[in-house]
Amino acid sequence: MVAAMTALPPALITEDLRLAYGSQRALDGLDLTARPGQVTALLGPNGAGKTTAISCATGLLRPDSGTVRVLGEDPAAAGPEHRARVGVMIQDGGLTSGVPAMALLRYGASLYAEPVDVPELAAYLGIDEFAGTLVRRLSGGQRQRLALALAVVGRPELVFLDEPTAGMDPAIRQRVRTLVRSLARTGTAVVLTTHLMDDVVGLADEVHVLSRGRAVASGTVAEVIEEHRGPEASLSLTARLDGITPESRDAVEAELRAVAARHGARLELGGAGAADLESVLLDLMRADEDHGRDDTTEPDPVAEAPRGPLARLRGRAR
C-alpha cells in the first residue's frame, strides 16, 4: 500500500446499497470503501453479493436504493471517459470467442489512449504462449489471464477483479499477485473477490466479509482475525530469516517450537494467516446463517442488530 494514497478520497464508496432479484435480496444495505493504492478484498460464500456489488459499481446493474460512487461519479450514468479509468475483469470472462488471444488483447488496448505495452503485458502473463489460439480453444486458466490483461491494459485507476486467480497454476498465480501488488503500489485501487485465502492474506490491505448482501466484518486481515478470535486466542508474527541454511532450518524451527512450548502456546509455521482467515470466514458464515434463521422467526426490526461474534465486527463494517 502507498501510505500517502490513503489521504486521497476513496475510489469506491457504497452506502446502504440494496438490490433485490424478485423476492431475493442480493444486496441488503451494503457499505464498502476502496482506496487508491490499496487492495480491497471482498470475501464471502457464493451468493453473498460480491458479484452483484461489482456489477453495481461498474454500472451494469442499478441498485434499488442506496448510493454508489466510483471515482466520484455514478457509474450507471458515466460515459467513456469514466469507463476508461475503471478496469473490469468479470467472472464469466466476457471474451469474444472467435478471434485469437493476442488479437483480442490488441483490440482491448486500442480502446485506450495510453495503454500498457501489449507485447510486454502478454509476455509477463504468458499470453504470448497462446497468442495465435482462438479464444474459444483456450483453457480456463488461459482465459483468466487474458481477461486480467484486458482489465489492466488501459492503466486503470480502479480495477475490479472477480476471482482473478481462479483456475491458474501456482507459477502464474504468483505472477498475478505480483502484478496486483504493483498496481496498488502505483496508486491503483484494486477491488478483488476470491475464495482463495492465500490471495487475501498475501494481497489485501482491507477485507470486507460479505454475507447475504451486507458486510459482516471489515478491516485488515489481522483485525478481522483478531476481532473475531480475540487477541488472547492467537498471536501472528511475521518474521523473515535471511541467510538461513537448509542445514540450520530444522534447528531454528526446533528452537521456535521450544519458545512456544515454554509459554504454553501452539506454534503454526507457514500459511497460518490463510488458515486462520478461512476458519474465521466459516465461523462468520455459520453465525450469520444462525442469525438469519432467527430473523425468520422474529421479524422484529431490533433483531437486525448483530449478535454474538458479529456484534463487534458489524460495528466496524458500518
Binding site: R83, I90, L95, G98, V116, A123, Y124
Partner: protein, 273 residues
C-alpha cells in the same frame, strides 16, 4: 515470460511514499478509433469463421448457380441470370445481417461479452456501431465476390439500377439486422441458432427471395408481400433485374426497419439474467 510491465501511465505519480498527487486520469481512445477497432474485430470474426463464410458466401453462390441453371424463379421477359443475381444478393444480405449477427450476438451475450463491453470505453453504442459497420464491410465483400460471379455468368446491370439498390440495401440491412439482434437479445443461444437458421431458410425458399412473389399461389402471395424478405426480393429485382418497382414493397421494408429498430431499443437484453 518477461519482467512486469509498468501498469501506471508514464506521466503519473511515481510509486512510493512521495506519491502525493493523484495520478493522471486514464483516457479513452477517440470515439472513431474505438468504433473502428471494434469494426475490425467483428469483421475478422465474421470472415475467418468457416461456418460464417459458408452462410455468407458459399450458400448465396450456390443459390446463384442453381437459379441460373434450373428453370425456376424466372420472370417473363427478364433474363434468368438477372433474377438469379438479385435473389442471390438478397440471400447474402439476409445471411449476414440476420443469421450471422443473430448467432454471433447470441454467443456474445451468453459469454458475457456484452457485459464486459458495457464496462469499457467502447460501451454499448460503440459495440452496435462497430457491428453495423462490420456488417456493411462484409456486404461489400459479398457484393464484390457474388457480383463478379454474376458477371461471369452473363449478368449486365445498369448503373442506375445499381445506384437505386444502395438505399434498398441499407434499409434491408437495418430491417434484418434489427430482427437478428432481437432474436439474439431475447432467446437462449441454442434457440437463437435454431430459429435464425430455420427462418433464414424459410425467408429464402418460400419468403419471396429465391422465387418472386408472383410465382407463388395467390393465398401465399398476400403473406409474402408483407414479409421483409418478400419486400427486399421485389425491390432488388426491380433495381438489379429490371423488374417492376413496387411502392408497397418499399413501404413494407421501411416499416420493418422502423419497427425492428424500435423493438431492439425496447426489448434487447444485454445479459442473460
Amino acid at each position: 515470460m518477461t519482467d512486469m510491465p509498468s501498469p501506471a501511465p508514464s506521466s503519473s505519480a511515481a510509486a512510493g511514499t512521495e506519491a502525493q498527487a493523484p495520478r493522471r486520469a486514464a483516457r479513452p481512445a477517440s470515439p472513431s478509433r474505438r468504433i473502428l477497432a471494434h469494426t475490425r474485430l467483428e469483421t475478422r470474426a465474421l470472415l475467418t469463421n468457416g461456418e460464417q463464410l459458408m452462410v455468407a458466401i458459399a450458400l448465396p453462390a450456390m443459390v446463384l448457380i442453381g437459379l441460373r441453371l434450373l428453370p425456376v424463379g424466372r420472370l417473363e421477359g427478364i433474363a434468368p441470370v438477372d433474377t438469379a443475381v438479385a435473389a442471390t444478393l438478397a440471400t447474402a444480405l439476409v445471411s449476414t445481417s440476420f443469421t450471422s449477427q443473430a448467432i454471433q450476438t447470441g454467443f456474445d451475450r451468453r459469454n458475457g461479452v456484452l457485459r464486459w463491453v458495457a464496462t469499457t470505453p467502447l460501451g454499448r453504442d460503440g459495440y452496435l456501431a462497430g457491428k453495423v459497420l462490420a456488417t456493411l464491410l462484409v456486404h461489400v465483400v459479398q457484393v464484390g465476390l457474388l457480383g463478379a460471379l454474376g458477371l461471369a455468368l452473363g449478368w449486365r446491370p445498369s448503373l442506375l439500377g445499381v445506384l437505386a439498390a444502395v438505399p434498398v440495401w441499407a434499409l434491408g440491412t437495418l430491417a434484418f439486422g434489427s430482427l437478428g439482434l432481437l432474436l439474439a437479445g431475447r432467446l437462449r443461444t441454442e434457440a437463437v441458432l435454431a430459429v435464425s437458421n430455420l427462418t433464414f431458410v424459410l425467408f429464402v425458399a418460400v419468403g419471396g427471395i429465391a422465387f418472386p412473389a408472383a410465382t407463388y399461389p395467390r393465398f401465399w402471395r398476400g403473406l409474402v408481400d408483407l414479409l421483409p424478405s418478400g419486400a427486399l426480393g421485389e425491390l432488388l429485382r426491380a433495381c438489379l433485374a429490371h423488374g417492376p418497382f413496387s411502392l408497397g414493397s418499399a413501404v413494407v421494408l421501411l416499416t420493418w426497419a422502423v419497427l425492428g429498430t424500435l423493438a431492439v431499443m425496447r426489448w434487447f437484453r444485454w445479459t442473460d439474467s
